[in-house]
């Protein structure tokens, strides 16, 4: 079984030709705008652009959006026609599964693809919120790691993984992160240590979580 962590923050399962992305948070900008914080309305376009690029690279048979694909319950109503068409184009010629998350628990059926709370393929279960069960790939926590090299310290998004289970980084253009030293990660990975696969500029850096801070 070969699972490739893509630099974009997506995960590609080669044998099954399945591409997984988590926490797109589409329409996060307009979600804040409804509350008077007028963030630039370009996040959906930016996120879909990144998604189109990674799909073009791997041409997967199936795409799984691992929950919180939309920032709030009504976000899909605010999608522009162009963005809607862009999603439809990405869905053409492949299966598409929207896993529902806490931000988008009740997705409508007119978005194309199938809506599910979780999905299992072979030994692996895909769900939004991690439970810590073995064989689980989840999102929700937006892991990021701080590493220091040569006196400089930087913080980047990362995959958190101990070989039994993994938490994926958030893919959306406006999604921040939670440091992997937070107690939430300790709960999922328990006593045994886990690795942070940090998204660098040109390659992935795999570092033991205990060595990040």
């Amino acid at each position: 079984m070969t699972l490739v962590a893509d630099l974009s923050g997506a995960l590609f399962w080669e044998e099954q030709s399945v591409l997984v992305v988590s926490d797109l948070h589409l329409e996060k900008g307009s979600s804040f705008a409804t509350r008077g914080v007028l963030l630039p309305p370009y996040d959906t376009v930016a996120t879909l652009g990144l998604l189109a690029a990674v799909i073009a690279r791997h041409d997967p048979r199936m795409v799984i959006a691992l929950g919180d694909s939309f920032h709030d319950r009504t976000a899909h109503h605010r999608l522009s026609t162009t963005d809607r068409d862009a999603i439809a184009a990405l869905q053409a010629r492949r299966d598409w599964i929207w896993i529902s998350g806490n931000h988008d628990p009740a997705l409508p059926s007119d978005l194309g693809g199938v809506v599910a709370t979780e999905v299992a393929i072979g030994p692996i279960a895909f769900r939004h919120e991690p439970t810590g069960a073995p064989g689980e790939i989840a999102g929700h926590l937006h892991p990021k790691a701080r590493v220091s090299t040569r006196g400089r310290s930087m913080e980047r998004r990362c995959f958190a993984c101990d070989g039994e289970r993994a938490v994926m980084p958030a893919f959306g253009a406006y999604t921040g992160g939670l440091n992997i030293r937070d107690a939430a990660f300790a709960k999922i990975f328990r006593a045994a240590g886990f690795m942070a696969h940090v998204l660098g500029d040109n390659r992935l850096h795999s570092i033991a979580a205990s060595r990040c801070y």
């Binding site: 630039p40 309305p41 376009v45 030293r181």
Partner: protein, 767 residues
């Protein structure tokens, strides 16, 4: 409703404490003469009930700050409060006009001139380089005519007595701690009644304070005062000071401006003075009486600083000033003001535009920029018009702009002001867990609060690192939310971070004087022997740069090749230059590896033999330093620059795009639900000419990137580059070469290493 008459006089000062101090000084004579004049202050600390009463029954004289003025102007009471206003007094005006607070104040003034046409504005300043430009600030600008206020020069103050410490010790080649002169500084404190010792950064203050205590055999009462210490601790020091109980206080610029400090008879300034006017402000802390001369001793921490101190003393003797010139008004501040106006009475765009033009910093604002700002305030100013229904301000049938709902008004009130502080974390002292694991969790919480520290600083630390804080060596244990947990470390020496540079770069004025001093060999005779010998040696083995030329030296060292240049334009401009030069050298295949900058010079090193490349014409210095680097190279670099992202965040907050306070609660960056860095990336890609990005770029020109100064320098040196190909490092290059690798070299051990490195380099340079 019964209402009294409006205000007669407004007094605005940059500091709350100053307003309170002046109020006290006014109340006494008013009471003694039995005058029917009511004086009150209004600051962020004034209770809500009193603030409300002040709006109904204003005093005759109100002493307040620029932020409070903005708040009053945005209320419905503004016409009543201000229409009778006769005078407005702006104290320490030089300190206000050089920042965005000055922009905000100028817009407030423009508003006042319309509400009260009879108003007369008076500005006060003890240190101002160009009184004429400051005088423009005080009168309405009209139709491109350059209007200025009358200038009154008060004379009679005794000239300060300033000298440079003539050290018996060996002058260091680099570094900023001035540890060599510690004994002499201690002696000065011992010989005087009360001494203020100014340093440029918090970490320097901590270090010096510790060092002084270690040698304090006489048990002199020496205290520490800087902006990050807990307020209670600072108040204690201030009270002890006023009572005359202290012999010495080590402090940072937190004491530059403001209130009288009892009987200070000596000011010691450690390190580079940076600017003549700044130095005069500091010296003014001693002997705050007009008829007596203030006494000050400058203690340079290295050889270049000797030059800087020498020219600063000359400048003070000539009473020369170098406060920066008047700013061009910032667009993010204008956005805040426009929203504030809409919170009061609805406005017509044409009328507000005309009013804004009367403010000196905005007198050349274009209508397009103004309309873009209004559009930004209304719906975010995006090319993609999707936020019409979320508009914060809207036009009514008469075309007047007004806020769409009370929430907008409330948010404006909570977020008024232009001071965006670095995110600060609370430092708490807990018991060490000993281990080196960094997980948060099991650590005992609570602990005594030591003070606050910049988040940026902590982000650079690894758990287990030690640093000096609040006069103690502490060990970094954990970070949770906005709290930093530290334990008492047993080490005598801390892994204190390297000198991060003061906030203020060397002033353009002093830099030019330093270049003149270097170029004038006859003037060297006034310098200490060690410094004169150093310069003479430089002249013999390489060259001493002329006033307008740029000296570039190339030489091999170890298995690398070095290029050192001496622009004398301050660390910030040099850092930007280093970023851009290395990009270009990369393209020229000189294979640069890194660079380091200080206030005077920039050193770049790499694998390519730069001397050979220059000789062969493969590396053209004129092309390398061509001002066109401020075009595409700059744009490409800005895309990734962390400094630019910080600048953008500040603009986003001031302009009101994002709020720093919701319903009275201050948010820390950790709690903010989105990252301004990500927003910057997306906006830059999809609407690069957005008004906020324009505001951020304008800030970068004068702020952390100092682009304007870099641009001026590049223009100045065109066709004036002198290259020297050397076999080894030159004497002038030694200080900047010693900065290399300082990032990982700390504390005492670091100093020893530095000394060793210096000996080696000096031997080479003189060899």
């Amino acid at each position: 409703m019964q209402r009294s008459r409006g205000l007669h006089t407004l007094y605005i000062s940059p500091l709350k404490a100053l307003a309170v101090d002046i109020a006290r000084n006014l109340e006494t004579p008013i009471a003694e003469m039995g005058l029917p004049i009511k004086v009150e202050t209004r600051t962020g600390d004034t209770p809500v009930s009193r603030r409300q009463r002040q709006r109904r029954y204003p005093p005759d004289i109100l002493l307040t700050t620029p932020e409070q003025l903005a708040l009053l102007l945005s209320s419905d009471d503004a016409p009543f409060l201000f229409s009778q206003l006769k005078r407005i007094v702006l104290d320490e005006l030089h300190a206000l006009v050089t920042s965005k607070r000055g922009d905000l104040l100028s817009l407030g003034l423009a508003r006042l001139w319309r509400l009260a046409p009879q108003l007369c504005a008076i500005g006060l300043s003890a240190t101002v380089a160009e009184p004429e430009s400051l005088a423009r600030f005080l009168v309405p600008q009209r139709d491109g005519m350059n209007k200025t206020a009358d200038i009154v020069v008060a004379g009679g103050a005794a000239a300060p007595v300033v000298e440079m410490l003539d050290t018996k010790e060996r002058l260091p080649w680099a570094g900023h701690s001035a540890r060599h002169a510690l004994g002499e500084v201690y002696d000065l404190i011992k010989r005087n009644k009360t001494t203020l010792v100014f340093v440029n950064t918090r970490s320097q203050a901590e270090m010096l304070f510790q060092d002084l205590w270690r040698m304090n055999d006489d048990g002199l009462a020496i205290a520490l005062h800087h902006g990050s210490l807990d307020v209670a601790q600072r108040r204690k020091v201030e009270e002890a000071m006023t009572r005359g109980n202290l012999r010495g206080v080590v402090c940072t610029s937190s004491l530059d401006l403001g209130v009288d400090w009892g009987d200070v008879d000596l000011v010691i300034n450690i390190g580079a003075p940076k600017g003549a006017s700044r130095l005069i402000q500091r010296i003014g802390r001693a002997n705050h009486r007009i008829d007596e001369a203030s006494r000050a001793v400058l203690v340079p921490a290295n050889r270049f600083e000797v030059l800087e101190c020498a020219v600063a003393i000359d400048a003070i003797a000539e009473n020369a000033q170098d406060t920066p010139p008047l700013r061009t008004g910032a667009l993010d501040v204008l956005a805040q003001h426009v929203l504030g106006c809409a919170c009061g009475e609805p406005f017509l765009a044409e009328e507000l535009y005309a009013e804004v033009l009367t403010a000196a910093p905005y007198s050349s604002l274009t209508r397009t920029d103004f309309d873009d700002v209004v559009d930004f305030v209304a719906t975010g100013g995006y090319a993609l018009k999707t936020y019409e229904r979320f508009a914060r301000i809207k036009q009514d049938k008469q075309g007047r702009w007004r806020v769409t709902n009370p929430r907008v008004r409330q948010s404006y009130r909570l977020n008024v002001g232009t001071i965006v502080e670095d995110t600060m974390l609370k430092v708490r002292l807990v018991r060490s867990r000993g281990g080196a694991s960094g997980s948060t969790g099991a650590l005992g919480r609570g602990g005594r609060m030591l003070g606050q520290i910049e988040e940026v600083f902590i982000e650079g630390l690894v758990v287990g690192d030690t640093f000096v804080f609040g006069g103690e060596v502490v060990r970094y244990e954990a970070l949770a939310e906005d709290q930093v947990y530290v334990s008492r470390a047993n080490d005598k020496d801390a892994k204190v971070p390297s000198y991060m540079g003061g906030k203020f770069p060397l002033s353009t004025y002093l830099a030019e004087r330093v270049r003149k001093l270097l170029a004038d060999k006859r003037a060297w005779s006034a310098l200490p022997d060690q410094v004169r010998d150093w310069l003479t040696l430089q002249r013999d083995v390489s060259r001493v740069p002329g006033v307008r030329e740029l000296l570039v030296e190339t030489f091999p060292r170890g298995n690398k090749h070095y290029l050192v240049c001496y622009p004398f334009e301050g660390r910030l401009a040099h850092q930007t230059l280093g970023m851009l030069l290395t990009r270009r050298m990369e393209r020229a295949r000189a294979r640069p590896l890194g660079f380091v900058a200080n206030e005077y010079a920039l050193a770049v090193w790499g694998l390519g033999d730069m001397s050979f490349m220059i000789r062969q014409g493969k590396l053209d210095l004129d092309a390398l330093f061509d001002p066109d680097m401020l075009g595409d190279d700059l744009e490409a670099w800005l895309a990734e620059s962390a400094l630019m992202k910080r600048t953008f965040r500040t603009c986003a907050i001031i302009s009101g795009l994002i709020a720093r306070r919701f319903t009275g609660e201050e948010k820390t960056r950790r709690q903010v639900l989105f990252s301004t860095d990500l927003i910057y990336d997306v906006l830059r890609k999809h609407q690069p000419d957005h008004v906020l990005l324009r505001a951020a770029r304008a800030d970068a020109a004068t702020g952390l990137l100092d682009l304007r100064r870099l641009g001026d320098m590049l223009a100045r040196i065109q066709g004036r580059i002198t290259h020297r190909e050397l076999d080894h490092v030159s004497p002038l290059a030694v200080p900047v070469m010693l900065e290399i690798g300082r990032e990982s070299v700390y504390g005492e051990a670091g100093d020893e290493l530095l000394a060793e490195a210096a000996d080696e380099l000096v031997k080479e340079a003189t060899g």
